[in-house]
């Protein structure tokens, strides 16, 4: 099994965002590749931060984590293909702010798992406790991670039990059923 660093490195160099055709029709799909291409939007340093944050926010459990479904690659694709200049600039500022806060006491990316989780958990608490706008960028980033994860096949099907064609309506499902949505 790859180490986290190896996995990250592959991701960092692999988010060329080359379009491919979906099996279903001619819909263009943003996919990450393993061809050694750099991120189309993020710098390698930014990509490493995006990847580490994504992994900590949505880790691999019994179901795929953010890295398993290439959330960093999708965020890179969104910034390259979907975002306006204004959104890109805001995203870049957010990454800078997040990095600055997380590395106040040393290189965040060099922290071990426990240290990284603690640092991000503290930032996350602040982001949702403070009314201050300065952490709005983090909240937006967390939104990108979450939306991207649950829009991927792994996140939707395996974690969320999303069903493409429900075929029926049940307005009253007991949660413990672990039934799809």
């Amino acid at each position: 099994m790859k180490t986290r660093r190896e996995f990250l490195r592959e991701l960092i160099v692999s988010v060329g965002g080359v379009s491919a055709l979906a099996a279903c029709g001619d819909a263009p799909v943003v996919v990450a590749t393993a061809t050694g291409e750099p991120g189309r939007f993020h710098t390698p340093e930014e990509m490493e931060l995006v990847s580490r944050l994504s992994e900590l926010i949505i880790p691999r459990t019994e179901t795929p984590g953010a890295l398993d479904v290439n959330v960093p690659g999708y965020i890179d694709g969104l910034m390259a293909d979907w975002a306006s200049e204004e959104t890109r600039a805001a995203h870049r500022r957010a990454l800078t702010e997040i990095s600055s806060r997380l590395s106040a006491n040393g290189d965040f990316l060099a922290l071990d798992e426990t240290g990284a989780e603690a640092a991000l958990a503290e930032l996350d608490r602040s982001a949702f406790e403070e009314a201050a706008d300065e952490l709005g960028g983090y909240r937006t980033f967390k939104g990108y991670v979450t939306r991207s994860y649950f829009a991927t096949e792994g996140g939707a099907r395996e974690e969320l039990q999303w069903v493409g064609v429900p075929g029926r309506w049940d307005p009253n499902v007991v949660v413990s059923d672990r039934q799809g949505v």
């Binding site: 279903c24 926010i57 989780e117 608490r125 829009a151 096949e153 039990q161 029926r168 007991v174 949660v175």
Partner: protein, 568 residues
């Protein structure tokens, strides 16, 4: 072989009402030409409802630059419906410009293609009630409708049987029951909300939304390749199951199988030619959207179903010595009384006690609160009324905007979280002749047709009504036991935003003050019919597509009768 140019009937527009006009005329044995200004949509090729979220570019979000460049008017009104994979269903604003009079706004949301906006609609389907045809007269507003509910009721029934509507029988006089297929059952939180509201406010009702989705497809519907709704919530992308009603899913195939339908795409109607000797429309002049070539089609009758705005513009563009201000416009009412529904008031709150419940499936509609103002409650500081659309669903953990990271954060998304009830008002806009669409004197589109100029303002009645709707919404949520109730200050939607434009060629008894008679037939030109939203003498507050279709079916059969009798 040369393309045929002579028909029994020409229908301009293939959308909600045009499809129904064409079906009825074809089934009466008439040779019908449908002119559609946009390109052909082929479901097998152009529907994108089968794509999963991960199979779409940018998770189906239109890029922000593209919205700014092409959809700056369309997108703000329908961000829930205009997506990367279906964006071609919506017109590009930079290619289909229009003008707003100084100090006014108008959102003209459109789809130019086979079946028009019937592909992209939100499928809420309600009859008008008896009061809706009587209030103009009772209040001395505008003019009286020349028909009453009883006149149109049989046609509602006919159309509903064909369309397929999921709903529940409620026996409400102001919102008569349709011919229903089984409703989508309310969620437990909605049932609790219903109990709370109906106990606190006798005369108010919370009912399942009535939607044009098949839940028990009939043999006729199955014969058209339609089947039951699969609860996917992919409707704005088309539906390969043909489970929701659209012209393309239902009426146009029904017309086609008669063998009497001819459909021509990319045919933009520029004007109707008029023969003063016979007092008839003698031809329909079109310009080809792709080649700019012009040609003329002829028929014994013409149905305008291009939308209330476009149909009025066609009449205004059809000037002649006999009709210097536009065909069938001796009343000077063409383009006037333009109405929409008005929203921008509502409230939401948390319903406790359902955190261990969630739903399976993604239904097409939630709850509806039929109009009660000036029906069951007559103490209002405004006239007419509104209905609420809404629903109760698990709040979930939308977009990650909750604290936490790691396993707990990830797995919290499996839980529904608290349930949230939200309701928003759809109010009636009163007719006003100063609210109108006219032709720009100099500016033309790429085909040489004048640009539309909109001048529409809400009246004080709509403003007061929506303020009251907000107050009522909060009161109902409180009565139902909701917590953390939120309600933004009233902010009226721009005219056009509800995509229910109507009234631009109103029907009435007196040719001096109305364009159409009670059969949607032009007073001034007997072989001209208009059955899109143009005929509406008042707007009511219900979503209007069903009414357009019922009047289309009625007018089509009336016109066929007149043809059979040799009157036309």
């Amino acid at each position: 072989m040369a393309e045929a140019t002579e028909f029994d009937a020409i229908v301009v527009g293939s959308g909600m009402s045009g499809g129904m006009s064409a079906k009825e005329l074809c089934e009466r044995g008439l040779r019908v030409l449908v002119l559609e200004r946009g390109p052909e949509v082929v479901p097998e090729r152009d529907y994108t409802d089968q794509l999963a979220p991960w199979e779409t570019k940018n998770f189906d979000n239109v890029s922000q630059d593209e919205v700014e460049r092409h959809y700056f008017r369309q997108y703000p009104g329908v961000p829930y419906a205009l997506k990367e994979s279906n964006k071609d269903f919506w017109v590009k604003d930079d290619e289909h410009d229009y003008v707003e009079a100084e100090g006014t706004r108008y959102e003209w949301l459109r789809g130019y293609h086979t079946a028009g906006r019937s592909i992209m609609w939100s499928r809420q389907t309600y009859r008008l009630g008896p009061q809706d045809f009587e209030e103009n007269l009772r209040e001395g507003v505008a003019i009286d409708w020349p028909v009453r509910y009883e006149d149109i009721a049989p046609w509602y029934e006919k159309v509903e049987t064909f369309v397929g509507i999921a709903g529940s029988e409620e026996g409400l006089s102001q919102l008569p029951d349709s011919v229903f297929q089984p409703a989508f059952e309310l969620t437990e939180a909605e049932k609790a909300f219903k109990r709370g509201v109906e106990a606190a406010f006798p005369g108010r009702n919370v009912i399942p939304a009535r939607v044009a989705h098949l839940t028990d497809a009939t043999e006729e519907q199955r014969s058209l390749g339609r089947s039951n709704c699969q609860l996917r919530n992919r409707c704005h992308h088309g539906c390969v199951f043909r489970a929701y009603f659209s012209s393309l899913n239902a009426t146009l195939p029904a017309a086609e199988r008669t063998g009497n339908l001819t459909m021509v795409h990319n045919a933009i109607v520029q004007s109707l030619e008029y023969d003063p000797e016979s007092n008839r429309v003698s031809g329909v002049r079109v310009v080809d959207a792709e080649t700019n070539e012009t040609r003329t089609y002829t028929s014994r009758i013409v149905f305008l179903n291009a939308s209330a705005i476009a149909s009025a513009m066609i009449l205004l563009q059809s000037q002649s010595e006999s009709f210097p201000t536009g065909l069938a416009n001796r009343s000077d009412q063409v383009g006037r009384n333009l109405m929409d529904h008005v929203s921008g008031a509502g409230a939401a709150g948390i319903m406790r006690g359902f955190d261990d419940r969630k739903v399976f499936g993604r239904r097409p509609g939630g709850i509806y609160i039929p109009r009660y103002a000036n029906v069951t409650e007559n103490d209002k500081p405004y006239s007419r009324g509104f209905g609420y659309q809404g629903g109760a669903s698990p709040l979930g953990h939308a977009n990650g905007q909750i604290p936490g990271i790691g396993r707990e954060f990830k797995e919290s998304h499996r839980r529904p979280g608290p349930w949230r009830v939200s309701i928003g008002a759809f109010g009636e806009q009163l007719p006003n002749p100063d609210n109108r669409v006219t032709l720009h004197p100099t500016r033309r589109d790429r085909w040489g047709n004048p640009l539309a100029v909109f001048e529409v303002r809400y009246s004080r009645n709509e403003e007061i009504m929506l303020e009251e709707a907000r107050t009522d919404a909060i009161a109902m949520l409180e009565a139902a036991g909701c917590e953390q109730i939120v309600s933004a200050p009233v902010n009226l939607t721009n005219p056009g935003n509800r995509i229910h434009e109507m009234g631009s060629a109103r029907m009435g008894r007196d040719p001096a003050e109305s364009v159409l008679n009670g059969w949607c037939q032009a007073h001034d030109v007997p072989n001209l019919f208009m059955t899109d939203g143009a005929f509406m003498t008042s707007a009511a507050c219900q979503n209007p597509s069903l009414t357009y279709m019922a009047f289309s079916a009625r007018a089509a059969n009336y016109a066929a009768d007149l043809l059979g009798e040799g009157v036309l």
